[in-house]
């Protein structure tokens, strides 16, 4: 009986082993089958895309920083930019972004207001500082993982204008979770900038190793008011400015019609944060003039460190097939004493399947920087001072309207490129001070056949 029981047990064991082996084989086979199955991978970018962006900007106001918080802020700027995105393979994209901006500025022309006619802070001069050209090239490279849940990118940028040169390096990493409903990202940028400092013309004779009032500039131009003009001016020792930024992003699909995002940016700036050609007038120093132009007591002096924090959120809501609501809010503060709120709303309205209208409104406010002094209120004994009204307290309203044309079939062609969309927008921006501006922007998107 005992022998028979042992044989039964052995038979049961054999069956268990066979079943286990079969299961193991089936699992291995299924894994092999899965591994050998080709997974379809959509290209991150199907074909080369080209965007041509342009804008024409004008502004005016009565608080020019170049003339110490008084004078014309009239400025026009025309910008053109090409952005070319090239798919290198299924996963990688190379983007080249190159732009030029040409501006004419009445206020910066008054760095030297004495080169023609009677000088006046409210009139433009015709000197070399009246206009400048800004150029920028940025190259970026991004790689997406096979499952498209991980994206990393890196970029290098160079920009230059007559008195400023900048090199930037940055990178970012993005991770998608939760069936691509949740996205987390981290980014970092470093900008190494250098000024070629230009000072107001009347201060230059008071720099190091020059001859003050004996300079030919003062023999050509007659000083009125305080004839014993003796500004408190020393050129800046260092002309470098470095910026380091760290950003965190989180976005979430909340519903099949709603998604939102949060962004946190931390920026540390070091170096020459003052603008060398922005004048300051002291209230405790007698005023000197040439023609109608008040001579500078100094240029603005600001701390050589600034830490900025910005926290922003977006919420987009697809109301129906006609209207989408796009909203944005940002809270900002820095260690110069500025806090700011920005809120905007845009409501794209699809009037046909090709045309969309873009009405928008944006509100912005900020408190003044600790070192802001309105025209002629700074003291010569202050450590820091600026009369740049961009650092003053104000509220601003911006109204915008745009129209967009989209042709998903890209019927219209220029050479091998089909026109996919055209955007045209206009924005009117008004502060509760004398400042106002307008901008017209256009965007053309082409896709290579």
């Amino acid at each position: 009986m005992e022998a028979a029981a042992v044989i039964d047990k052995i038979k049961i064991m054999k069956r268990i082993i066979i079943i286990f082996c079969l299961l193991a084989f089936a699992k291995t086979y299924s894994q092999t089958f899965q591994e050998s199955t080709t997974v379809y991978k959509k290209r991150v970018l199907e074909t080369t895309e080209v965007d041509f962006l342009s804008s024409y900007y004008t502004q005016d106001g009565d608080n020019a920083a170049v003339s110490g918080g008084i004078g014309t802020e009239e400025l026009t700027d025309a910008t053109g930019t090409f952005v070319v995105s090239i798919p290198l393979n299924d996963d990688d994209i190379l983007t080249i972004d190159a732009g030029v901006s040409a501006y004419t500025s009445a206020s910066s022309s008054n760095i030297d207001p004495f080169d023609d006619g009677p000088a006046d802070a409210f009139q433009a001069s015709s000197g070399a500082s009246r206009s400048d050209l800004w150029g920028n090239v940025t190259g970026s490279y991004s790689h997406s993982s096979d499952d498209r849940n991980k994206i990393w990118s890196t970029k290098l940028s160079v920009s230059t204008e007559y008195d400023y040169f900048s090199v930037g390096l940055g990178g970012s990493y993005t991770r998608l979770f939760n069936e691509k409903n949740t996205e987390l990202s981290i980014s970092g940028n470093v900008f190494i900038d250098t000024w070629n400092a230009i000072y107001p013309i009347e201060l230059r004779p008071f720099g190091e190793n020059v001859n003050g009032l004996n300079n030919p500039f003062f023999t050509r131009n007659n000083i009125t008011g305080n004839a014993n003009y003796n500004p408190n001016f020393t050129p800046f020792d260092s002309e470098g400015r470095n910026s380091y930024s760290l950003g965190f992003g989180f976005s979430q699909i909340l519903h099949k019609n709603v998604q939102g995002s949060l962004a946190f940016d931390f920026v540390q700036q070091q170096g020459l944060l003052s603008t060398p050609f922005q004048r300051v007038y002291f209230s405790d120093v007698p005023d000197s003039f040439i023609d109608n132009f008040q001579l500078a007591d100094d240029v603005e002096k600001l701390p050589d460190n600034r830490f900025k924090v910005a926290i922003g959120g977006r919420l987009n809501w697809y109301l129906n097939e006609v209207v989408v609501l796009r909203t944005f809010y940002r809270y900002y503060f820095d260690d110069w004493g500025i806090t700011s709120h920005t809120a905007s709303i845009e409501a794209p309205i699809k009037i046909t399947h090709k045309f969309t209208l873009y009405p928008s409104y944006r509100f912005y406010n900020q408190t003044a920087a600790d070192h802001f002094r309105p025209y002629e209120t700074a003291l010569s004994t202050d450590e820091f001072y600026t009369s740049d009204y961009d650092l003053s307290e104000y509220n601003a309203n911006q109204f915008g309207f745009g129209i967009s044309y989209t042709d998903i079939f890209t019927k219209a062609h220029i050479w091998k490129f089909g026109l996919k969309s055209i955007d045209l927008k206009f924005y009117q921006y008004d502060r509760d001070t004398s400042f106002s501006s307008h901008i017209i922007t256009t965007g053309f998107k082409f896709i290579m056949d």
Partner: protein, 70 residues
């Protein structure tokens, strides 16, 4: 009492955000006007703001460097 409301609001928000929208349900989310970044055509507007306003960042625009402003 207030604590409870805060905890309930937190849990509700967390649960909402955990609801997964499937790929085939993302037709509206994938509409070009639903993107959570600014359109390229608005880039120069954002740049103008960064020149004229003290606040920068958290909007995809420049955070520093590259020009003599801000």
């Amino acid at each position: 009492m207030m604590k409870r409301y805060i905890i309930m609001a937190f849990i509700t928000t967390s649960l909402c955000s955990c609801a997964v929208v499937k790929e085939y349900e993302k037709v509206n989310i994938n509409d070009p006007d639903m993107t959570l970044s600014e359109k390229k055509a608005d880039r120069n507007v954002t740049t103008a703001h960064s020149y004229r306003e003290a606040a920068v960042g958290a909007n995809g625009g420049k955070t520093g460097g590259g020009c003599g402003c801000n």
